[in-house]
Amino acid sequence: MGIVASVLKKFHGGVHPEEFKDLSEKCAIEPMPMPERLYVPLHQHIGSPCEPSINVGDMVFKGQTIGRPQGFVSAPVHAPTSGKVVEIRQHPVAHPSGLTMMVAVIEPDGKDTWHKDISGLEDPFKHEPAEIRERVRCGGIVGMGGATFPSFIKMSPPKDKVVELLIINGVECEPYLTCDARVMEEQTTEVIDGIKIMLHGLQTENCVIGIENNKPRAIEIMKAAVKDIPEIDIIALPVRYPQGGEKQLIEVVTGRQVPSGGLPIDVGVIVHNVATAVAIRDAVRFGHPLLARPVTVTGLGISRPANVQALFGTPVQEMIKHCGGLKNGTRKVLMGGPMMGVAIGTLDVPVVKGTSGILCMTSNETTDKPEQACIRCGRCLQACPVSLMPTEMAWLSRHEELDKLQEYNLFDCIECGSCSYVCPSNIPLVHYFRFGKMAIQTADKEKKRGEIAKQRAKAKDAREEKVKAEREARKAAMKAKMAAKRKAAAAAKGEKPATEKESAPAAGGNDKAAKAARAAKAAKAARAAKAAKAAKAGGGTKDAAGDGDDKAAKAARAAKAAKAAKAAKAARAAKAAKAARADGGTKDAAGDGDDKAAKAARAAKAAKAAKAARAAKAAKAAKAAKEAKADGDSQ
């Protein structure tokens, strides 16, 4: 069968702790009475947390989305039953930090009414693989072996990779846990249907179900069920922890090693858990999102070990109550298996998508011995399934040599706990590695934050610089405008009647700068006109049109022009006055603008009235300027 090795390979290391599976392996998966309240966390998967899509006080139906996924690696969260959202708040969850997470508190109404939009595909095999994937995504399905990685991503292999083999993980290598075994025994047809749907979704034809030898009944039943299905094969595996680890299982079944930092698809394999297969079937065939899962409640500390179908959000307290309560002498309650589970600090913690077991341990099952010095026995080296060097890594981690830790491939550690299990000095090796991983991640995050802060500081500086430059520019423009205005005013003074008409339109503009520009233009035009006129009138005064910079020269020019134009001016003014008199008004003088009419009229009136006076004044000014020029020349 394809890439499946003819002889089972062996992964490096591994351990075989006492199994304790007999506590619950004969207990059928039983339903549970509806809890009074469900505390549904809005982040039950690897990836970004969900945003609540409901409000406090809303009525929700079973299967309704209550948590909207954010980003690609995320999975929606659904209401496990119908009822009322009474609170959305922080609540303790199973996490080594003991910190809280946003949960939606739902008070079930007891009717368990499905949401009206729930519908499935009658024949999934007639639909495109993309449709299957979409259903898996919308169903909020995540890997139920414990890693809770969104399943639709595993079902969407990159285009350049070929899926040669689908491995269904029925290994359940963690001691104590029996829920996967029960799923295989009780929901055989569902598992197989789910596998067929997955094979269709992945467009591949080979599937292997790996089951450890300590589940003979599950092997027997599954073997019987797949007798007539050539594409599915059952492989019985020798018992060895952590065989259920994705990469270890791939190595055992195919002999291929997933490269460091790589994914199973890099060796052409996709691995899903048996319970995930059932969940995918429900999502595709019936449109049922992931709302509940089988949980093994076990350990020597529980009165009645059982496998329970628990809704997400069910408090551990309720589960324990359902199983007869804790026995005296229970020391620890873990969520998950004994090797990789998380000890919980409060029984209010809810069951989530990754909860495979609730383990109530007595002092007989736990150790609490203090850490002692490493004696360099090397047992952890032999036990590590990833062939890492736990001795060195713990040492580096203790001394926070983060760069070197990465050189020792710290991030390939799957935190299976085999090294800690075999350590005769009780060194909490996994604890050291988790610390190291988090320290590296925190340092990276800080570095990124620092870079962002630097960018922001630079952006602010640049912006302030720009604003300053703009202000300077505005100031300069204002200065230029003022200068132009002054120039215009000076020009107007020397040649008022001539500039009256041209400068008048300037009054109509709103923009100051435009006005100033216009004034400057008008002044220039006036000067030009003046010069032309002067040339006409007196001749030989061409130089008056030259754009001299010297003020004295300018004044002289103006004076000359004024002098030369005196006669023309007087004549024109007289003409205008005559015309005004003839028309019986000065309205036509103001005729070329609406808003400037008044001004022009005023100007015309002024021109008429002050004709003589102005002429005299201009002459005086011209004389003065001439004298000034003479002074300037002589100096």
Binding site: C374, H431, M438, R449
Partner: protein, 177 residues
């Protein structure tokens, strides 16, 4: 005599050309230490070190043997980076929980003084509108505290969430003794 002058002159010429070429070829652009130091600093120019900005502090560390533990926003990481660049022993940092600025919105009068002071634009608000701090962008530099006319800004320790929590190091075997 002529021979001696020529040979010595020739030697001098060769040596001079060689030196000139080497000076061009192996030319060192300024002192890279200051740039390296500036690189590891937060670049927010907050002035907590007593210098007007990160570059002046970097220059002081590089040229005047200034202490390496004067940058609170950079924290221990920056101090260690400086120590590595300067080749000196790490100096103890004042233990201080990472904090963020917090604006009491009741007391804020919306004067925008803190907005102008914030080197990383982590405060949002407008004239006569209550301001607030973008926690993710705040670099813990304290620069906004002083300009506030109503003293409504305080530095509060950053809240640890599930997403920022970091595992503590095991006590180690020496915890026994």
């Amino acid at each position: 005599m002529i021979n001696a002058i020529l040979s010595m002159g020739g030697l001098a010429l060769v040596a001079g050309l060689g030196l000139g070429f080497a000076a061009k070829k192996f030319h060192v652009e300024g002192d890279p230490t200051v740039d390296k130091l500036e690189e590891v600093m937060p670049a927010t120019n907050c002035g907590n070190c007593g210098y007007p900005g990160c570059r002046p502090y970097a220059e002081a560390v590089a040229n005047e043997d200034e202490a390496i533990n004067l940058c609170p926003p950079g924290g221990t990481a920056t101090m260690e980076a400086i120590a590595a660049i300067m080749g000196v022993d790490p100096a103890p940092m004042e233990e201080r929980a990472p904090s963020v600025a917090y604006i009491d919105e009741e007391k804020c009068i919306g004067c925008t003084a803190c907005i102008k002071a914030c080197p990383v634009d982590a405060i949002i608000g407008a004239n006569k509108q209550s301001h607030t701090v973008i926690i993710d962008e705040c670099t813990d530099c304290d620069k906004c505290i002083e300009p506030c006319p109503t003293d409504c800004i305080t530095m509060v320790p950053k809240e640890v969430t599930l997403y920022t929590w970091s595992m503590e190091k095991p006590d180690g075997p020496h915890a026994l003794h």
